[in-house]
């Protein structure tokens, strides 16, 4: 929702307890509830930032709420060196970028094919087949997958990308199919009249119309692959190609955790997620059928 929508909307929700300037009615109870709810995000974030700036002896003292004084910025430099941050970052970025692009491309194609061929039994069966994949817990199949990917020479970040794209198809296609169904077939028919091929219809008409769903799927794919731990940990054979979440285990021994370095490193790893969230939330929240039928 955009800034201009919000006050009108809350005004509509509002029935009693009206106050504020003319035309703006503020529901103080709801606002208070939202403030409290926002603490669930802000408080852990505060701890993360504060922890990243503490020296080890500052960690042990007080409630943990106190802001560290003096600030210990060296944690970031130390974590940067210890994790070999640029290398791990590039590896994670590689996995993430291609997982997102792959998920968008593959899942939307699958969804388009299934949704527009719903009268064929084969495609309905394919839909059920893809859905059934969601019922198989990932840890059950991980060792066979490792064996398979090793035979195919995919025990590296490329294999992780492949599995992310593949593993995401069932859930993403489910999202896309529902969305494709809501797009009027008449749009496609008019394009066909003008001589468009199926690929052109998909590329020029359907895929742009899928924009809101692309944003949703893209965000899921981004978060899933950026934060993934288990798959890269077990699949990537060469430690030099390991991704950030796995490399960050460096700060956690069996009985020892280097909290300040760990949190400095987590913050650095979180930065891209924050940036993507700020950039992408507009697309997710913007009008669902924006520019669909003109």
């Amino acid at each position: 929702m955009t800034a201009s929508q919000l006050p009108q909307r809350s005004a509509r929700v509002l029935t009693k307890r009206v106050s504020g300037r003319e035309g703006f009615k503020i529901n103080w109870w709801l606002t208070a509830l939202m403030l409290v709810a926002s603490l669930t995000v802000l408080l852990p974030l505060y701890f993360t930032v504060a922890m990243a700036l503490k020296t080890p002896d500052q960690i042990g003292t007080g409630t943990g709420l106190a802001w560290p004084n003096p600030l210990n910025w060296e944690n970031f430099a130390a974590a940067y060196v210890a994790t070999n941050f640029p290398r791990a970052f590039m590896s994670t970025a590689f996995v993430t970028v291609f997982s997102v692009l792959g998920s968008l491309a593959c899942s939307s194609l699958v969804a388009y094919a299934i949704a527009r061929n719903w009268n064929h039994r084969f495609f309905r069966g394919a839909f059920v087949y893809l859905l059934s994949a969601m019922f198989i817990p990932f840890p059950v199949i991980i060792l066979p997958l490792i064996k398979q990917t090793a035979l195919l020479g995919l025990d590296n970040p490329a294999g992780v990308v492949f599995l992310h794209v593949l593993g995401g198809i069932s859930f993403n296609a489910l999202l896309y199919i529902a969305f494709v169904r809501s797009i009027p077939v008449e749009l496609e028919e008019s394009a066909r009249m003008d001589g468009a091929t199926t690929w052109q219809v998909f590329r020029k008409i359907i895929f742009p119309l899928l924009a809101p769903m692309n944003a949703t799927v893209g965000i899921f794919a981004f978060l899933g692959s950026w934060n993934d731990f288990l798959l890269p940990q077990m699949m990537i054979a060469d430690p030099a190609l390991q991704t950030l979440p796995v490399v960050q285990m460096l700060f956690q021994g069996e009985f020892n955790t280097n909290y300040s370095l760990a949190f400095a490193s987590y913050l650095m790893a979180m930065a891209p997620t924050l940036v993507v969230y700020i950039l992408a939330q507009r697309w997710v929240l913007s009008g669902v059928m924006r520019g669909a039928v003109k």
Binding site: T2, A3, L6, P56, D57, I59, G60, T61, A82, R87, M90, S91, A93, F94, V97, F98, V100, L101, L143, I146, K147, A150, D155, N156, P157, A211, Q233, M234, M235, I236, A237, D238, P239, A240, L241, Q242, V246, M249, L250, F251, Q252, G253, E254, F255, N256, T257, N258, I278, L279, Q281, R282, W283
Partner: protein, 433 residues
Amino acid sequence: MKAAVPATLPSRRSLFRVAGLAGAAALIPLSGCAGHAGQQNGVTTLRFMQNKPEVVNYFDQVIKDFEALNPDIRVIQDFNEGNFVPGLVRNDPPDVVTRGFAKATADFVKKGIFADLSDLPAASTIDPEMQELISSWGQYNGNEVSALPFSLAAAGVIYNRDIFDANGVAVPTTWDEFVAACETFKAAGITPIYGTFKDSWTLAQGMFDYVSGGSLDTAEFFTRINGKGADISAGAAESFTTNFGPALRQMLQLVSYSQNGASSKNYADGNAAFAKGQAAMYLQGPWALSQLVSANKDIRVGTFPLPVTNNPEETKARVNVDMALSITRNTPNMAAARRFVAYLLEPSVVNTYNEKNAAFSPLKDAPPVTNPQISGLDESVRKARYYQGAGTYFPPSVPLHNYIQSFVYSKNGDQFLAALDDEWRRVAERTAV
């Protein structure tokens, strides 16, 4: 609410273009350094997987020194232990491995995953008593040496030297002296033992292992109970019920000397509180020492083995083989791997490592430990008065830690031991061949 997003965002298309470029840029260095370990231009590449992320820097230095002496070998260090089993599945495991040696690693040994190291010259420099800690778990083909100890962690009672001195308490050598010391602290208003019962593993490795290990021969007990197999019952001479009763009474005594509210404290709380001098003693292993010092660099601590009987000669320390060196059986780089293992077991490497990490060297002629934090355990280790914790003998399918925790809360020893006997019998039934 103000618009959080500036109006002039890059278009989706240009963002994708940037993302694509970033991805392509990522590909170039990746493809450059990809490629499997092995032989290349006469240089053998070894993969060395070690189990302690906190000592990566030490091994980086060791590897540097080794490579300088052996220009034909390159060693890649990997601390991602979670990749060991996948490595086996891929049939491409690391060449040299260190693992904490207990039941889980012993299972790998029994399956013949590691090569025989008995003919390695360095194997004869190792204290046979410490080698026995590994071979007691079973040897492949009955006589192979699948792992060589690299570091031995000895655990006992960590005590605050300043609090002991201020109250005129000497390090206790008998159970009665220990109880008297606890009473002295209690009378002075000092918590005798800091309990962290919320983390149930601290109860298992602490009081459960210490008291049982000090009062009975754990290795022998588990050999007997394993021999009994699925026939075990509470009344049998081999059962937990028959053997662990006295230990439980002493455990409850230790519980009574812990602070109020110990059940809501975890390991990290315990480290912070003990570092601040909130208790005289702490039932933890050497792994806690670095945490204590990092929380309070001025703390003066020592460690003594918990005396469980009134005969000081019987006092034993809890040990575990924190790192054991192995070479995977099918490595194509056997010769290079053996040279690396031999280098790691050179006194200058292995002794320095253990000195730096508050652990004991496995070499026969290791110098005596001078680190005041653990020197109190030196005699026990040198005279081989030690045991591996009873808790480490349990299969992971028995939730031992939770049983111990509920015993500490309910104080119902009979129920606890009967449950252990039941669990043990059920596992034996399931795994019987």
